[in-house]
């Protein structure tokens, strides 16, 4: 600028040098331009960049984009360029293969020919969007053979020039494989879901079944030592907390100390033996009650190594109780059978002895000594008969004269008798209930039972105490009824409670057995409580005994309650021995009994025919001789009883009276249903009883 202001030599030089610099620069630029032109002319460039209103455009020269073409041709996706109207301008080989048509037949044609009719609208949507953004759709293409192929179409717009403003480039992905995979996957999923559901249902129904059976389940993982227990398991063991707990110790803990080592051993053995089963006692958590549980399980192995033990558990306390009751009942029944059989034979012996005493009495003189001896002998027979009655009472083979009885009235009437029996040291209280209850029983047997209990109580209170007699009405439910073998319903309960020494638990189960006694030898027969038991059973009731050592004992006699009052049958007045006449057929298998019976009858003035069996008797009857009475034993060998004989005779000789004789009860033979003209004489019978019965039947007409 200075140079312009002061032109001089130096300034000229400056101008000169500036000009030469500019010239050099221009030369350089010219050379550069020439080089560029040469390069373009010689094909040393790939692309030229052209500026325009819409920005720089890159024009690729021949073959420059070959790698892209190779990529496009090689790739496993279909590549397609489309005009806006859907004309296919270019496609790669993969697309042609996918459709199954030569490329030449595809290019220049509308893509819609290859789109499933339902998806054409979708494809049109892909073409219509022209905001330059990429978009994708899944649709079906139609192959050459008409099959459909699922594809994903990913489209993007490409601006080329004004004449072709929108070229649409699409990448088409075959979804057949992935669809198949996803189908397989979803099928596998469905299958899995179904299996899970089945398993769940099986588990559920197993749970329901176990629950219905009152069974809990448990599972001990031997590797992790984790125990899984079901809800019911918790209920059985009385546990409040639930869930999974560690340790076999958790399983062992509830068992009572005495049983625990056995249970632990069982679990140890189970690992080798493969199974476990035991019945042991636990202490229930919530109420500390001792309960019996039955545990059963199985060991699972993996590679011959025990990995888990799982199984079920149930509370069997009730079952054991019922079983015990059943055993007790069976034992009593067996003893009853034995006792009954023995009493039958014993009766025959007493019959022979007693009968012969009667015969002797008739033959011997009436001197005072003979009379005394005979009386003593007869007393012995009577005592034997009483004992026998008690045995039969236990065996429930005595005759019960059942009536509707008000127990309280009975208690009140023989309160005095009880007081005398127990002595002055024992206070007797009779509690009168508010209501008057009736029950079905034999008043005499009931009296005997109460007396037996009173005497028992007295012996339990050697230093005195109190004895309480009371009655209650209780309803026995089906469960309790089944335990005692009776019918559920309303019962009148006579309770005899003492404040005595009590009965030890081990003796409690045996007190009703005949001849079981804790008293000194000679002090008791051991038949008192047996009578109580037998009497209650025969009355359709039962006896419950509760006792605590040092506190006392309570006997409860349950007798079925009744609404109806009944009238006691008139007691037949027995006359002293009466003589008679006529022919009596004596049927008796025991020769000694038969002999003494015949002798007694002859002594009374009767003619006698004999038979040793029912069949023999029938033969005699059929002979047609005069017979005024058939006197037969009931129990006889040979398959035909006295009862059968009586029935047969009724069929052919209606008017022939029959007198049956037995140590057994009339009820047992169903005789109370009464065969007309048939009576029963209880063994052992006295001469006067025999004479009365025979006289009555032979002279009834």
């Amino acid at each position: 600028m200075k140079a312009v202001a002061q032109p001089d030599m130096a300034r000229f030089d400056d101008v000169q040098s500036g000009a030469s610099e500019t010239l050099a620069e221009l030369r350089l630029r010219l050379r550069e331009a020439e080089e560029t032109l040469d390069a373009i002319r010689n094909g040393e460039v790939d692309a030229v960049v052209v500026g325009g209103v819409s920005g720089q455009q890159v024009y690729t020269l021949e073959n420059a984009d070959r790698p892209y073409r190779v990529l496009i041709e090689q790739m496993q996706e279909g590549a397609v360029t489309l005009a806006r109207d859907g004309t296919l301008l270019y496609c790669n080989q993969r697309f042609a293969t996918l459709i199954g048509v030569e490329r030449e037949q595809l290019m220049g044609h509308l893509i819609f020919d290859r789109v499933a009719s339902d998806d054409i609208a979708v494809f049109e949507g892909l073409l219509a969007q022209a905001d330059g953004a990429g978009r994708t759709s899944e649709l079906l293409l139609v192959q050459h053979d008409g099959d459909h192929v699922p594809v994903n179409v990913s489209a993007v717009d490409l601006r080329v020039d004004e004449r072709m403003p929108h070229l649409i480039c699409c990448i088409i992905t075959d979804l057949t494989h992935s669809r198949r995979r996803s189908h397989e996957l979803s099928a596998a999923n469905t299958q899995l879901a179904r299996e899970i559901e089945e398993r769940r249902r099986a588990e559920e129904s197993l749970d329901v079944a176990l629950d219905a059976a009152g069974m809990g389940s448990w599972d001990l993982d031997l590797e992790t030592n984790i125990v899984r227990r079901s809800r019911r398991y918790g209920q059985i063991f009385g546990e409040i907390e639930q869930g999974d707990h560690a340790g076999v110790e958790m399983l062992l803990a509830p068992f009572i100390a005495e049983d625990r080592p056995t249970v632990a051993a069982a679990f140890a053995v189970a690992q080798r033996s493969g199974s476990i089963e035991f019945e042991k006692r636990i202490l229930r958590n919530e109420d500390r009650a001792v309960r019996w549980v039955h545990v059963k399980g199985r060991t699972q192995y993996a590679n011959e190594r025990p990995v888990r033990i799982s199984g079920v558990v149930s509370d069997v306390t009730e079952r054991r109780l019922v079983q015990q009751q059943l055993h007790q009942a069976q034992k009593m029944e067996a003893i009853g059978q034995l006792t009954g059989g023995m009493a039958h034979d014993f009766n025959n012996l007493l019959m022979v002895i007693g009968g012969n005493i009667d015969l002797l009495e008739n033959r011997l003189g009436q001197d005072s000594r003979s009379v005394r001896y005979l009386a003593a002998a007869r007393q012995g027979v009577e005592r034997g008969a009483t004992l026998n009655q008690q045995l039969l009472a236990f065996a429930r083979r005595q005759d019960l004269d059942v009536q509707a009885v008000c127990v309280d009235e009975l208690l009140a009437t023989f309160g005095g008798l009880v007081r005398r029996a127990v002595g002055e040291a024992v206070t007797v209280k009779v509690k009168a209930p508010a209501e008057r209850w009736l029950c079905k029983t034999d008043p005499h047997q009931f009296e005997t039972a109460i007396l037996n209990l009173a005497i028992n109580a007295r012996d339990a209170m050697p230093d005195g105490g109190s004895l309480t007699l009371s009655t209650e009405q209780r309803v026995v439910d089906a469960h309790v009824a089944a335990l005692h073998g009776v019918v559920a319903g309303s019962y009148v309960v006579a309770v005899v409670t003492d404040t005595g020494v009590g009965i030890a638990a081990e003796a409690l189960g045996r007190v009703f057995e005949p001849f079981f006694t804790t008293k000194d030898v000679g002090k008791g027969t051991g038949l008192g409580l047996s009578q109580v038991y037998g009497f209650a059973k025969q009355s359709g009731g039962f006896v419950v005994v509760e006792s605590e050592i040092g506190t006392g004992t309570s006997f409860q006699i349950y007798l079925p309650a009744t609404e109806e009052a009944s009238i006691a049958p008139a007691v037949r007045k027995e006359k002293p021995q009466v003589r008679g006449y006529g022919v009596v057929l004596v049927v008796e298998d025991d020769e000694n009994v038969r002999e003494v019976t015949c002798e007694l009858l002859r002594g009374l003035g009767y003619d006698v025919l004999e038979a040793d069996s029912a069949r023999a008797a029938l033969t005699v009857v059929r002979r047609g001789e005069r017979i005024d009475l058939v006197f037969s034993d009931v129990i006889m060998p040979g398959g035909m009883s006295g009862l059968d004989l009586a029935r047969q005779l009724k069929a052919c000789k209606r008017n022939l009276p029959v007198l049956l004789s037995s140590g057994y009860t009339a009820q047992q033979f169903g005789l109370h249903e009464a065969i007309e003209g048939v009576e029963l004489l209880r063994k052992p019978y006295s001469l006067s009883a025999l004479s009365n019965a025979v006289e009555r039947l032979t002279h009834r007409t």
Binding site: T36, E44, V45, D46, V49, Q56, T60
Partner: protein
């Protein structure tokens, strides 16, 4: 002045190479340029490779009209060398760098 300063202070080169995707010529140009720089300008150059497909507007500023083109931005003056850069002498001359002695 420049001539006097040049040996004392090493000149830093700022270079930009315009290519077209992965064409053979563009790939060659990149390889050649890389080698020339390593051998002659070690530690004193920045080289940017621009794909005109991806960024066509980048050509405008430096008036690039064809690819491959190498542009020497610094030191001035700005120089453009066109082609695959296989003529090493020409490239070095264009960069105003003395060839390896």
């Amino acid at each position: 002045m420049n001539a006097a300063d040049a040996p004392a202070k090493p000149v830093h080169y700022k270079l930009r190479l315009f290519v077209t995707g992965t064409t053979a010529r563009s790939t060659r140009a990149i390889e050649n340029m890389k080698q020339i720089c390593e051998e002659n300008l070690e530690g004193r150059y920045d080289l940017e490779v621009i794909d005109v497909y991806a960024n066509p507007e980048a050509t405008k500023e430096l008036q690039v009209i064809a690819t491959p083109t190498l542009v020497k931005i610094l030191p001035e003056p700005l120089r453009r060398i066109i082609g695959d850069l296989s003529d090493r002498e020409k490239v070095l001359a264009g960069l105003n760098v003395l060839p390896l002695r």
